[in-house]
Structures are given as structure tokens and as C-alpha cells.
């Protein structure tokens, strides 16, 4: 058993010589990095320079190349061209372990943790410092000592699946630091955190850099980047746009650099609302897949011709909300009515027949059959209709016609309607789903994380189809963890926290800061808890 747990040294550990800007020496210099996948160029001659003692933000849209660049630095990908220097020595990492040995560690969006194993086991996984023979107690003790050294605390005996997302993230950070990372790359760490937890994370980040380390903070969230970083590098479409000090940067300027686009999608408020709500959720409670309460007595009404946006951090019941109003989950209590008709607990097919369209959160898992052709997926929700099939035969002609029209209207880029859907890019798959569901929805439309992971073009198309539905008189429920998107598109905003609706805002009342607080569970004095009528 090793006597001490002092973290290994990489290079000289003396205090960074303060430069003019208060930051230390250059620890990593990446030059001319280019990388492509299949036929796509993901990084195009990118430079990056990281200094000791700084929080360096990597800012950009989806697909800008931030993660790819970090993966190259962290040894997960090999660059096609370019070099990475660590403390002046050029490296060509062929594996993550080599990068770790050089002091570079990365925490990904999707955690690389083993769910059924404990925190202590995960921390010690694949670590040569771990003794060959271990007992549970030994692992736990070692882990606790690590936690004390790094001031990060979690229950070491808990199994990963039992932990919250924020805690799992901390396990990942702990693991990486334990192996002596002096450069810690965090990929969109706040995507799964509440505002409160994000703030905690920022605190951890700042204390790490105070000790001379470097933290790379990958994000697309302007406000956070401005809040916590010392310098910002903006990437767009695989190219390096700018690297500058955070001090003095404005959101607008950064946004322009990120998107290259000065205009914004202007949402024109559509036609008037219907008299009665088309979608009524009345006192609905439901359990999550783990059996825990996910929705608690939720009441919400959505009128035709309006978009109600549900803001909130993922994991507060939004998934379950979308599922109960589309027939994918049973309620424990309460009723759901579509245009005054009770549809509680009915099958997805009934909901489709009731003209409820649904863009599910998990597009590949739920909405599409990847191995099937585009035409098959196009007609998936409506194939039972007489124009597409009888009990003994499918009408291939009309199905093909329908599919072609759908593909054209939704601007899906595909070689043909016979192409297996898995061959399409993510954006095109989502266009297909959005177009198909918009076709189903003539009364209610549920869009759950509709633009997650999409490029700018696809995002625009999908958002447009949602707005079209609103203009056509549908009651639209938009669930998104991207607050900007919610604010951009909604007529009304409700906030969900821990399975309840904790606030409701309309028109002028929409206050970003208050919404942010509610999302994090800070329920103020005069909050509108409980109802969102």
C-alpha cells in the first residue's frame, strides 16, 4: 500500500511567475491542429495557448469543434496535422493515458463511470497507483484521503447510479485530478447542473487554478463564460476566431463571433389564442422510471395558438411531463384532456389519433427506427390510416408520395426516401422527426429538447416548424433546457423544479434572472408555485 497520496509532479511546481496579466507561463501550446472525420473537417488549423493559473473558456456553437479540439489535447483523438506542446516538449499522444501521464485530464459530457461500481472503485479504476490487492476498506480510505486533499466530497461507498448528476461529475473530476492532472478540461459541465450547483463548480474551478493548475471550460453559455473565465477562445465551424481576455468582453460581441450572424430569429407573436385550452393537465402526478416521484400535482393549460415554454434544468420532471401527455407514461393521479376529451393514460397510438404530435427527447431511441428507410419512418405514426394501408396491404404509392412531400417540406437532406434513416445526419433526422410530428399535430404539439445537439441550420428549421404549428392554431408545449431557446420562442414561460411548476411568466413579466433562480430552486416570496394557468 502506498504510504502517501501526494499527487504526482509534472514539471516544476513553483509558483507561476506573474506576467503582466497575472497569469502564469504557457503550459500548453497547440499549433495548427486539423482533424477530420469521414468526409467532415472538424478542425481547421486551430491554435490554442493555455497558461498556468487560468480558467480558459472555449466558446462556440454545437459543432464548432470545441470538444474535438479538447479531445486532441487530451489524447483521445489524433490530429491529422499540427502539434501539441506541453511545457515546451512536443507530444503526439496516442492514447488518453499518455496525455494523463503528461498532466492533461478531461471530464466529458457523458461520464465515463461504471454505474454498478462504487465511487471508490471508479476513482481507482485503471490507475497504476492502485495497489494490486485491495479490499473495500482500503479503497474507501484512500478515496477519503484524496477527497480531503482536493476538497471535493462525496460518499465513497455509494454506487454511481445512486448519485445525482452533479455528484457524478465531481467523481469524474476527482478521478482526473487524482491522476495528477494539472490541466483539467471540463466539457459543458453545467449542462446538467442547476444554477446553484454551477456556482459551486465555479468555486471549485477557481480554487484549482489558484493552486497553479489550468482549467479549460468548454461551454456555449455566454453568461457563465463571462462570469468565471480569465480568457476566452471562440471557435466557429472548426476555425479559431479569437482569443481574448474576458475582461471587457460583451455578450453581443461574443455571440456574433460564435454564430457569425448578426440577426436573430425573430419570433412574431402569432394569431390569437383559442377560447379554451386545447391541452389541459390537471393535478397530474407521476413516477419516474426508478419509481421516485417525478411529477407532483402539476396543473397546466395550453391554449391553441400559443407556445408554452417549460424552463428548467433537465431532471426536474420535464421528461416525464412530455411522456404523460403523449401516452408513454402512466399517471398516478390527475387527468389529461385534449380539447375537453379525457385521454389520461391512453396509448401513444390514441394520442396520435387525437392529433398530438411529439418530438421526443431521445430521437434515436424513441422517434426513429434507424435501420428502416426514410419512407418507413415518415409514415410511422400514421401508417394505420386508410390512405396508407388496409388490413391486408400497404399502399406503397401513397406512402412514397407522402414521404416525398414530407422530406421536401421539412428540408431533410437525404439521397432518397429509400435510404436507411441511420445514414442521415443528426440534424436531418431531427428535421424528419419534426416534420413528421408536425404533420400529426393539428391540435397539440409537444417538443422535448428539439434542438439539442443540432447545428445552426437544423435548429432554425426545427424551430420554424414548431412556430408554424403555433400559427396554425396548435397548443404547443416546448420543453428545453436551453433557456435562451425557451425565452426566444415562448409566449408564456413556466418553470419546473423538482416535479412542480414553481413559476409562470407572460409577456412583459418574463424576467430572466428570476427564472434562473426558480430553476435552481430559489423560490422567492411571491412565487407562483403550483399553478401555471
Amino acid at each position: 500500500m502506498s504510504p502517501s497520496l501526494t499527487l504526482p509532479d509534472h514539471g516544476s511546481d513553483d509558483a507561476p511567475e506573474p506576467d503582466v496579466d497575472g497569469l502564469g507561463r504557457v503550459v500548453i501550446r497547440a499549433r495548427g491542429i486539423s482533424k477530420s472525420f469521414d468526409e467532415t473537417l472538424a478542425l481547421d488549423d486551430v491554435d490554442l495557448e493555455l497558461r498556468a493559473g487560468e480558467v480558459h473558456a472555449l466558446l462556440g456553437e454545437n459543432g464548432a469543434g470545441k470538444t474535438t479540439l479538447s479531445n486532441v489535447i487530451a489524447g483521445i483523438y489524433r490530429a491529422d496535422r499540427g502539434s501539441v506542446e506541453v511545457d515546451g516538449t512536443e507530444h503526439h499522444f496516442r492514447s488518453p493515458s499518455q496525455a494523463i501521464a503528461a498532466g492533461i485530464g478531461m471530464v466529458h459530457q457523458q461520464f465515463r463511470l461504471i454505474q454498478p461500481m462504487t465511487v471508490a472503485e471508479n476513482v481507482h479504476l485503471g490507475w497504476h497507483d492502485t495497489p494490486s490487492v485491495v479490499s473495500r476498506k482500503v479503497l474507501v480510505d484512500r478515496t477519503m484521503r484524496l477527497m480531503d486533499e482536493l476538497s471535493i466530497h462525496i460518499d465513497p461507498t455509494a454506487q454511481i447510479w445512486q448519485l445525482s448528476v452533479g455528484e457524478q461529475q465531481r467523481v469524474e473530476i476527482l478521478r482526473t485530478l487524482a491522476r495528477g492532472a494539472r490541466v483539467l478540461i471540463l466539457d459543458e459541465p453545467t449542462a446538467v447542473l442547476t444554477a446553484e450547483q454551477a456556482r459551486e463548480l465555479f468555486g471549485v474551478m477557481r480554487s484549482l487554478v489558484a493552486g497553479g493548475r489550468t482549467v479549460v471550460f468548454i461551454s456555449h453559455k455566454l453568461k457563465e463564460v463571462l462570469e468565471v473565465s480569465d480568457r476566452i477562445t471562440v471557435l466557429r465551424a472548426g476555425r479559431h476566431m479569437v482569443t481574448r481576455y474576458t475582461a471587457g468582453a460583451t455578450p453581443h460581441e461574443l455571440a456574433v463571433l460564435m454564430t457569425g450572424d448578426h440577426s436573430e430569429l425573430r419570433v412574431r407573436r402569432g394569431a390569437a389564442r383559442s377560447e379554451q385550452p386545447l391541452l389541459e393537465i390537471d393535478g397530474v402526478s407521476a413516477l419516474s422510471s426508478r419509481g421516485l416521484p417525478a411529477l407532483r400535482d402539476v396543473t397546466l393549460g395550453v391554449y391553441g395558438g400559443e407556445i408554452v415554454g417549460v424552463a428548467g434544468v433537465s431532471g426536474n420532471g420535464q421528461t416525464e411531463l412530455a411522456e404523460v401527455v403523449t401516452g408513454l407514461r402512466r399517471t398516478e393521479s390527475g387527468t389529461i384532456r385534449i380539447d375537453r376529451t379525457d385521454v389520461t393514460d391512453q396509448s401513444p397510438r390514441s394520442f396520435a389519433e387525437a392529433h398530438v404530435g411529439h418530438i421526443p427527447e431521445d430521437r434515436l431511441g424513441v422517434a426513429l427506427v434507424r435501420s428502416a428507410q426514410v419512407r418507413d419512418n415518415a409514415v410511422l405514426r400514421q401508417y394505420r390510416r386508410p390512405e396508407f394501408s388496409t388490413w391486408y396491404a400497404l399502399r406503397h404509392g401513397s406512402i412514397a408520395e407522402f414521404a416525398r412531400r414530407l422530406v421536401a417540406a421539412a428540408r431533410v437532406q437525404t439521397p432518397g426516401i429509400d435510404t436507411p434513416t441511420g445514414f442521415l445526419s443528426g440534424g436531418n433526422q431531427q428535421r424528419l422527426v419534426a416534420g413528421r410530428e408536425a404533420g400529426v399535430a393539428s391540435r397539440v404539439f409537444i417538443a422535448s429538447q428539439p434542438t439539442r445537439g443540432l447545428d445552426v441550420q437544423s435548429t432554425g428549421d426545427v424551430q420554424r416548424s414548431i412556430i408554424d404549428r403555433r400559427d396554425a392554431g396548435c397548443a404547443v408545449l416546448l420543453i428545453s433546457d436551453d433557456l435562451d431557446e425557451v425565452l426566444l420562442m415562448s409566449d408564456r414561460v413556466v418553470v419546473m423544479y423538482e416535479g412542480r411548476i414553481v413559476g409562470s411568466f407572460e409577456g412583459e413579466e418574463v424576467d430572466r434572472r428570476r427564472i434562473g433562480l426558480l430553476m435552481g430552486g430559489h423560490l422567492g416570496e411571491d412565487d407562483g408555485r403550483g399553478t401555471g394557468e
Partner: protein, 312 residues
């Protein structure tokens, strides 16, 4: 009196299943599904027979059997882990190749029993206990190893060593293991091969101790039973031993029924082990759906799924 003799038979009959099953347990723990056990047992058996015929002693023949199976196991593993062929199809192919080859090669040895076999090794003192002694403590060394040392060793490996932790990680989430710097391909190749060699050990044992005369289809379905018992054991070494013993008991019951003339057809008795094994798999799953869950019976997360590392 007969019940102790039955116990003895049960232990012996179950040994092949323990050996093959423990090997498969390791293989599946790294995420590889090897359906080819039936063929591997055959290969181990025929290799042992041939080795004996060439004048080698029983222990050498035993090792030869293991090595022969290890060779085929390695070929299987390479196909499945490196080329990433479908594990179901490749496993079935291994059964066919193994059974076909072993039947072909063993054909010449039908009817001539092996002379130089394993002898029982009575444990001093314990073997002299009336009734229980001969039943439990008068077996060949391989039996002792299979029922005691092997599960202990495997359990220690899996739960008490760093290497074992890495092994389990590979089976649960190879992407995470890879990211942690563990050699996923190497682990899978290694343990799939080792697992196969255990099945070969089972076959060799069959020839060298249990039924020393070659017969066609010498494995007689025990490879398939081993697969089922691994599922029943929820991938835990000691439960595996228990399941194998249960199977052995069924076979033993069959012998007794014949001896004692219970009037049950030998066909029915032969069916018993399979039916019991089937029940052992189906019933817990059914109960689990009704909320009665013994303990975690979830398979290793990546079982039978090939691992593709994201392009570098």
C-alpha cells in the same frame, strides 16, 4: 446409503459444468458471449484422449486438452473481439467446428478406454468419516480444485484485486474502461481464451476421470447447460458452483432411478437436467417482474456487444 453415493455422483457429474461454467463466467464478465462451450469441451476431450494415446500421463494430457481448447478459444476471441463478427453466429460456428472435429478425430478411439487416468485423492482423516467421507472427500484433485479453489480464486480475482476491478469494468462499460486506460481488447482476448481453456479442462476431465471411453458427442449438452448455469448464477462464482451441483444432482437422480427401478423411463430422467436448468433460468426472471428480486441479476452491461473505440 445410496444418497451418499448419489452425492458423490452428483459432484463428479457437475464438475464439467463447474469448469466450463467458471470459464464462461470470466468470459462474460469481460463482455464476451461464447456459445461454443459444447465444441470446446469436445476439443478438450479428444485432445486428452489423443495425448494419452501418445503415451502422455494424465496430467500432461489434461494440460494438452486445455491448450487445445485455448487455441480454438483464441481464434474465436480474435474473430469476435478484433474483427468483431457477430458473437452468436461465431459461437455457434465454434460448436460446429469443435463437435465435428472432435467426433472425427475421436472416432478411432471409440471403445478403447483410457488406462492411465486420474485416481481419486482421498483427504486424510476426512475421507474416513463414515458415509460423508467417501462422498465428499474422496475425489480426484481436479474436483477439489473445481469446487473449492476455483470459485475462491475467481472471486478473489474479481472482487479483491485491481486487475479484477478492471476486468469487471471492461464488461460493464468498455468505453469508460478504455478512457481509464485499460486495454479493453487485450482483456477480452485474454479472458475469452482463458475461459475457453477452462471448458477444455472440463472436456479433458471428462475423459480422464468421469467416462474414460470416447463416445460420439461426448459433451452431451453440458456445454449448453454451463451457459444456462452462468445466467442462473448471476455471474457470481459461488452461485455457479451451486447451480452446477444442482445439475449434477439431477443426473445422479437419473442413475439412482434406473438402479432402483423406480419405473421411470430413462428418457424422462435424461430430460430432467435440462428441464430443471430451464426452470432455474426462467423462474427468477419471472419472479423479478413481479417484484421479487433476489439480488442484482443484471448481466454485465456490454455483454455480447462488440466495442468500437471512437476513431482516433
Amino acid at each position: 446409503m445410496i444418497w451418499f453415493a448419489a452425492l458423490r455422483t452428483a459432484i463428479d457429474a457437475g464438475t464439467v459444468v463447474v469448469l466450463a461454467g467458471m470459464g464462461e463466467l470470466l468470459t462474460e464478465r469481460v463482455g464476451v458471449l461464447n456459445l461454443g462451450l459444447e465444441g470446446l469441451i469436445g476439443i478438450g476431450a479428444v485432445a486428452a484422449v489423443i495425448a494419452t494415446d501418445l503415451g502422455m500421463g494424465p496430467w500432461t494430457a489434461f494440460v494438452v486438452g486445455m491448450l487445445a481448447a485455448a487455441l480454438f478459444g483464441f481464434l474465436f476471441a480474435s474473430s469476435v473481439v478484433v474483427i468483431r463478427t457477430n458473437q452468436v453466429l461465431t459461437g455457434l460456428a465454434l460448436v460446429l467446428v469443435g463437435v465435428g472435429l472432435s467426433n472425427q478425430l475421436g472416432n478411432d478411439y471409440q471403445g478403447s478406454p483410457i488406462q492411465d487416468r486420474f485416481r481419486p485423492l482421498p483427504i486424510p482423516v476426512l475421507a474416513d468419516i463414515p458415509q460423508v467421507g467417501p462422498a465428499l472427500f474422496n475425489h480426484t484433485l481436479v474436483v477439489y480444485v473445481a469446487y473449492v479453489a476455483l470459485p475462491l480464486g475467481v472471486a478473489f480475482l474479481l472482487y479483491r484485486t485491481r486487475h479484477g476491478m478492471n476486468l469487471r469494468a471492461v464488461g460493464e462499460n468498455p468505453a469508460a474502461a478504455d478512457a481509464a486506460g485499460i486495454n479493453v481488447t487485450g482483456m477480452r482476448l485474454c479472458y475469452a481464451t482463458i475461459g475457453a481453456s477452462f471448458a477444455g479442462a472440463g472436456g479433458a476431465f471428462l475423459m480422464l476421470a468421469f467416462t474414460p471411453v470416447w463416445a460420439v458427442d461426448v459433451a452431451r449438452g453440458r456445454g449448453w447447460v454451463a451457459l444456462a448455469v452462468v445466467i442462473f448464477a448471476a455471474w457470481r462464482p459461488f452461485r455457479l458452483v451451486f447451480g452446477a451441483l444442482l445439475f449434477g444432482a439431477m443426473i445422479s437422480l437419473g442413475f439412482i432411478a434406473q438402479q432402483q427401478n423406480w419405473g421411470v423411463s430413462s428418457f424422462v430422467l435424461s430430460m430432467l437436467p435440462y428441464v430443471v436448468t430451464l426452470t432455474l433460468i426462467v423462474v427468477p426472471a419471472a419472479l423479478a417482474r413481479f417484484g421479487i428480486r433476489a439480488r442484482s441479476t443484471v448481466a454485465p452491461g456490454s455483454l455480447a456487444q462488440p466495442y468500437f473505440r471512437e476513431e482516433r
